[in-house]
Each structure stands twice: as structure tokens, then as C-alpha cells.
Symmetry: C2
Subunit: 551 residues, 2 copies
Amino acid sequence: MQKHAPAIGRRQFLGGAAGVTLSALLAGPDALAQGSRFAPAIAGEPHAEWARKAQALMPALQSVEQQPLALVKMIPDPAQILRFRVEEDASITDFATRSFRKGDSFILDFGGHRTGHLSFDLETVGREPDAPARLKLTFGEVQPDVAEPLHPYKGKISEAWLPEEIITVDYLPQSVKMPRRYAFRYVRVDVIDTSPGFAVKFGNVRAHAITSAGPMPVPMGSTPRLRRIDEVAMATLRDCMQTSFEDGPRRDQRLWVGDLRLQALANYASFRNNDLVKRCLYLFAAYRDKDGLVAACVYEKPYPRYGGMHIVDYAALFNVTLRDYLDATGDVATARDLWPVAQRQLELIERWISPAGLFIDPGNMWIFIDWSNKLDKGSAIQGLLTFAWKATADLALQLGLRHEAVRLSRRAAMMTTAGRAAYWDAASGRVLSGTARQVSWAGASWMMLGGLLSPREGRRALRAALADPAAIRPSTPYLYHYVMESLIACGEKSRALALLESYWGAMIDAGADTFWEVFDPANPLSSPYGDIHINSYCHAWSCTPSYFLRT
Amino acid sequence: MQKHAPAIGRRQFLGGAAGVTLSALLAGPDALAQGSRFAPAIAGEPHAEWARKAQALMPALQSVEQQPLALVKMIPDPAQILRFRVEEDASITDFATRSFRKGDSFILDFGGHRTGHLSFDLETVGREPDAPARLKLTFGEVQPDVAEPLHPYKGKISEAWLPEEIITVDYLPQSVKMPRRYAFRYVRVDVIDTSPGFAVKFGNVRAHAITSAGPMPVPMGSTPRLRRIDEVAMATLRDCMQTSFEDGPRRDQRLWVGDLRLQALANYASFRNNDLVKRCLYLFAAYRDKDGLVAACVYEKPYPRYGGMHIVDYAALFNVTLRDYLDATGDVATARDLWPVAQRQLELIERWISPAGLFIDPGNMWIFIDWSNKLDKGSAIQGLLTFAWKATADLALQLGLRHEAVRLSRRAAMMTTAGRAAYWDAASGRVLSGTARQVSWAGASWMMLGGLLSPREGRRALRAALADPAAIRPSTPYLYHYVMESLIACGEKSRALALLESYWGAMIDAGADTFWEVFDPANPLSSPYGDIHINSYCHAWSCTPSYFLRT
């Protein structure tokens, strides 16, 4: 998930007709000053017992020390998707003999992405050091991060996220541990100054990769390319698995419900750190709003707390995540403990569903589905909520709550009927959304996943959407996941596999070590923030190829 | 003292005829690459027992927590020596209610200079903080440090000394302790970014002033102005008294012999932390060159060591400092312990003195006297060395080494005779130095202090130099001290007091809270480094008004 709740109301989730751009959504201070059109988010009393349970499940982070592989240079190359090719500049043995002065810079390649810390010994050459050394360090997930200047920064979100640090090291020689956690493959060092009298050398440079994921499983897949996709997806998940499932380790670093569901699915198929899922479920349960609505995200640091934002689909997906957890672990006790939270989500969302079963946008709630700002979300949210109702009914059934299961299933059936009437065009075999009768991958996928379409109808609708050049396509790997899930649900496994290879495979072709937050194959250098240097190139919601390839 | 040994040889200390500018002296890398024309500085084996004694004398640093007094603004004002006048912008009570966003800045005034740390609580206003906060902090000793941009930096010495820091604070709200030690009265904060969603507030801002000096004595002096001069001088000394007598807490932060002598004198008259002097004497004794020559400076951190630079006059002043220490403390044991070091200094310097007693510049040794690059140093160094010989003879006498005392006194008498013949022009009553027969305050002062002139001759020579507009004047408070000391030595007490009031008093008029590294009354905005923002405004060698006012 992203970290910014757009500070606007109805127009956004009813589509782009009003011309709202993402930039405008993220415009920030002005919108904030005028007051958000969202319903006010008011924290409830934290649930002490669940908060305690979440705390007790705090994982130990494993730290692995890693050496850089080489000094590299970035060569501009229009043939590369990210516009730079990496060439070795010097070996690490060579690097150990080099010294650097004011204005010098170099780029270290650690050969793959990690979340973690950086340490080195700063030694001096020349006279006794008669000044501190001032250095700028830039942490690159991908080549442009370290090949191009990050300033002037043109992005719409906080410049504080730019992965750079200026440090001044007194009392040389000195061991340096960089003060924060970073997400990086490359580290660029610019020597701002030493003094005219001495140069610096860098000894014992080490990354300290941290994760709560545990060791990487052997990649799976029927071809080397698929195994590489699995490997990169697992690396993505590993680097997001910290004391919670973070959305991305470079930026935001927060636990979001929608991202959690996808990470949990991939985790069940790979690292199997199921207690981390359990901890996250308890965090969401403990820190809700005053009515009991699950927040879109929660904060872990400096102390766990309510995230102050709500997304209708994310609240519903809490229930799906809990059901998935029960399926994966058989942990009935936790599912039973948290059942009231699941039940409460549907009670709260029910307020926006007509007696006949159609979701009516209240105009003051954030509906996400995808970052695409042209998307009419009507059909997709109807499908998603029906999907959540059915998952909750399934959960009730597994907990022995038969009466509740039946009641929820009946309601899901009404939602199915109402949704079909509103969005399914049987004549053309398409899902149509909004007054503009918009066709989208999102609509077809969620209507299929929600069971509003039969597999045969779903195949038809998905094929129509995927073949329609005017259809609204996903703008995030998050929605690509649900397209994949729905293709598989309607029996289109080979089409799903082809999509996986073409979409995630294209990131592999671009040199990805971890999968990205946003990737539009037609426009791979796009950023929803106005500056690609602020994009996150290791983003949890992109990790589900491992789920698909390993299950 | 300064931190940069000019990487050139003879031309410098024979005066400016060759057109060597300070910038050239500090040119650095090129000069270094070509190899210094100084004799190579090669460390000797550290003296383990003296190193241990120095370590055992490590002082405890006292930390005092201080609150800012107000938020201030700097108003450009040509009537002010430093070009800005300080006005209150808001009270601290007001400040506590203010919040700040991207692009905002403010200046805190702590009402006086200190060496120390800074801490604050960073709180947020608005939505839950969805980004870190990135801040730039600039630590100002004087107004221009925080009133003007420090970039582009035009100075010749390391930019790493510019007193600024960029920090990124994750996981808000958060308590922040700035990572380094700073020297400041003012703290300017520029908010680089928060996020569009939240602003920051600064709670509980505290300076933590540290020193090993102990409590400030009550200022002394016959007028309020003199008492203020004493107070500012003691504050200067206090802020330089850390684990050694540092030359300046903003920059360099190192222990130099010449600075030590002046600080020790002021300390005996004020804080009386005599063990800190003892520690410094042992540091110099423990870490000398391979021949036993005392280094111009030693390093304390990260571990004590030889400073790799030598100054002839500083090596000689080690002996004077040891004699002063014995006079002030009666600590015969230490003086006896270190006597061989004093003896060795004269043996080594003797190599450059002719049989007749005249110092002959060997061309590969640094002679300091003052930073003035026009000064012909011949007469001054002759006077200074004779002064050191006599002080060493005095030391020997006090240690019961009568034979040695007599021998040294005889040699000093020869140096007196030779120096008078070379530099004293009895006809005109002036000290003349070099082929250009240069008149300087330095030459007259040191010839008087060394006893090469009688008090009557000294008065004549000093009056002539001080009255001569073409005479080379001091460029540092360090040399002003010796002018003062020589005026007193020849009975010109009232002239000395007038000089003290006019020179140090002018810094008071400029708003000084501590006395400066360089101050030229005719050109108060000058910097030997090409940029006044890199000057040090609390510099130990300026602290001796307290010595003069209190003894």
C-alpha cells in the first residue's frame, strides 16, 4: 500500500471523470488545510489484551553481515529500461587501496537488495587528520538512485524519504555505523570534504541485512526464468518482513491490511513465519477506530498505534486475511479470538450497502482497489465486498458458527444478484462500471473473485477486458495480483502464467532484484509521485509470484 | 593555535617579501603532493608511563542543562560590527505553540556561548506522521553564522568544519539528541521536509553545556567593562576546557603548546583546574618525535597520539609552560619527572643556534610567532628562545640543578648579546628585523620579554613600534597577549590596560560572548581562511585578559 491517503472525497473513487490527478490527490497541505472530505478518523480505546498479544509476538530480527562485491560505475544506456547499465569499476581488493578527497565519489555494489544497516572504518592517508570528514551517502535500490542527482527533487511526497544522508565523522580514524536503516543494493559515497592535508580510505565496509523472514527457500518454477521470478519475489518479501510486514523498506515502512493479505499468502508458501501474520492481525485488532473499524494501516514505532486512515476494501480484506490465516495454520484459537473484529467490519460496511445488496458509495470513505485514477471502482468494490462476505461466512463455518455462516452467505447471495444487475452485461459478456460503462481489468477480476460471475462468465469478462485496448489496466502489482487470482479462479491458468511472466518478468528484464511498488510496462519510468527517485523498488504487494509459483 | 601547518618552508617565516599569502600557505593538496619542505615529522615511541599518567588525569566533564531564552531574528544592520542585530521574534512560551513545515525556519538564542550538545523532542501536528522529518541545524557562535547562508562556501580549509548538520528523524514523535558536540549560542533550524500531512513542533529544547573547568568565578576588574572582559575571557577558557585545553571548540579542537601556555596562565588565575595542565604536559611529553622534540599539537581522540607537526617556538614554550606550572602549583615531582623533556628541547633547538648565540633559520622548520604573513620573525624568535632559555634555567634552579641553571643562563646571556647585535638599533631605539629592517610589535615584544632589552630600552622599542603606522601589527589575540605581557614587563601597565580595553573591548562591542580566534580591529570581518563562517569565535589563545585582570 501507499502511505498517503488522498485528502479528497467522492470524486476519486468514482473515477477520473472529474479530472482529479494523483498529483492533486497528493497535493497535501492545501487540501489538508481545507479539511479532508473523508469522515473523521477517531481512534478507539486500544484493546489492551490484543495489544499485549501483538507485543508478545515481536519477532527477533536476524542480521547477516555482507561484503560489497565490487566498485561499479553507471553507464548511460538507452537500451536499458532504467537507462543505466552497470559496469565494474574496480574490484574490492583494488578499492581497499584507493583513497578519496573532496569531490571524489564511488559506488559500491552489494549484489542484490537488502534492508539493513551499513558500517565501515574510515581511515586516513596523508598528514594526521586535521579536520573531520564530511560524506554524503546515497542508498540505491536501483541504478538511477545512484547514477543521477536526487536534487532538485520534483516529487510531491516528502523529500525526507530521499535515501541520502550527510554525516560528519570526527576524530579519525573512526568506525562508522550509519544512523538509520536503509533499503539498498548500491551505496554511493560522495566525499564533501576531508581537508587539504589528508584523504580517506574505507575499510571493512559491511552491510548488515536484517529480516524476520528466516533463510531463503530454494526457488521454485518450471523454468530458470520462473525460478528467478520466485527468487526475486521471495527477496521482496524477505526485505519487507521486519517487526511487521512492511509495505516497503525504503519508504513508508508501515503495515497495511491490503499489503498484509498478499504478503501473508506468499509467506505461507515460502518462509512460513506465521507468527508474524498473527502479530499483524492482533495489531489491527488492537488499534481500531472508535466504532471498531479496522484502520488501513497501523504504526509500530515508536509505539504501536492506530493509523488514522480507513479504506473500505482494506477493512473488508481484514476478514479475508483472518480466514486465510486459519486455512494456513489451523490456529482456531486466534481466529475465534478475533472473530468479533471480523463480524464488526461487516456490520460497519453494511451501512453503505442497500437493502437489495448494492454498495452505495457514501462519498466520505476512501475506496482503494488500485492507484489508477481513471478507474471507476463501482464494480470492483462490489465484487471485493462480496468476496469478503463469503470469506467471512467461510470463517464462521470453520468456527462452528453455522447460523452466522448461513446469514452471511444469504447476504452475499443478495450482493451477487444486485452486483450482477448493476455491472454485468450478459449480452456483451463484459463487466461495465459507472455511467461511462467503463471496462476495466479490476472490475472483471473482482466480479469474478466475488463469485458474481460464473467461471465461464468470468473467463469471458476477463478475456474481453484483457483484450480491450480501451480497458483500464492496473497501475500497481497489487491489482495485478487480483487479476492473476481471478484468472486462476476461472480456470485460465496458462493465461495467468503468461501474465506473470510478462508483467513480473519485465521487471526482471529491467534488472530488478526485488519487485517494485509501481510498474507500468508501457511507461516503466513513471512515478505516481512526480519523481522516480522517490519510488520504492522493493514493495511487498509485488511479492505474490511466489504464492502463485509455489502453490 | 590553528590547525594547519603551512606546507612551505623558509619563505614564510622570513616574511612576506616572496609574496606568500595565507591562502597559499593553506593551499593544501598540491603542496602536499609535491612534498612539504618541512623536515619530515616522524613519531617516536610513545612514553608509556607518561601516557598512562596523562590518561589517569582524564577529567570528568560536567554537563549543565540549559533552556533557550527566546526565538530571535537577525536584522541586517550596517551599524553593527558583525552586520546583524538580534531582535526577539517570540518568547519560548510562544515558540512551544508554533508548528513548522517544509521551508520554515527559526533561530533559538541560548543567551551566551557554550560547548556542548543539543536535544529536543520532535512532536507532530496534523495527521499521523506518514514520513520522517528532515531538518537542517546550524550552530552559530555569532550572528552571521545563522543569519547568512553558509553555502556556497568560499573558505580554504575543510568544509567539514561548517557547523551544520542534516538529520532525518524516523518514527515520530521522537526524542532527538544531536549526534556531535557543537560550539554555539544560536541554533538555526530549517525544516527541509515533513510531509504534506503533518507539521512538527519542538518541545523541551535543551543545550547541554560541557566543560572540565568547574563553576565560573565572579568576574574581576575595576569597571563594569573590565569585569565584562574578564567574564567573556573566562567563558572562552571554560568552553575550551574539555578533556584537554582545546584551541577552539568549534574547529580544530586540539591541544597546542602555544595555546596551552596562555590557557594555563588564565586557568591559574581563575578555574584552577591545575590537573588539566598537568595532563596536557604529560600528553606532550609522551607523544614526541623520534628525537624527542615536543610536537606543536597532540591528538586526544580516538586515542592520544603524536600530532605530526613541529613549531620551533612551541617546542621552546613547552619549557616555559612547565616552569609556569611549577610556579603556580609547587608540584616539584611533576617538574622533576618532565625535566628531561625540557632539557631535550633546548638540545634540539641548540642545533639551529650559532656558537655566538644567534638563531639561524634552518629553512625546514616552522616558526610561528603569529599568523601575520608579512612579519619578519627573526627578532621575535631570537627573543622568544632567549625567554625560553631563561625560563628553563629558572626551572633548573628550582629543581636544585644549579650547574645546569648556570650553564643555561650563560647561554642565554650569549643569545642576548647576539640578539642585541643583530636586531637592536640603539640609535633609533627600535628593534629591526631582516634585510628590510622591519619594525613589528612582535619583534619589540619578544626582545623585551627575552630580556634582550632593558626595561627602559623595551619601553622605547615598544612605544616606537606601537606608534609606527608602518609597523607590522599582530594579527591574532595570541600575539596581542605577548605584547601585553611585554608592556607589563617593562612597566607600561597603563598602556597595557588601554590596549586590553581597546582590543578585547572592541570584541565586546561587537557582541562577543567569547573571544575570537582572529580579530583585526581595522578589518573585523576578515578571515585568514577566505570565509568568515569558518572562523572560530571562541578561541583559547584569546582568553588571557583574565590572566591580566586577575593577577
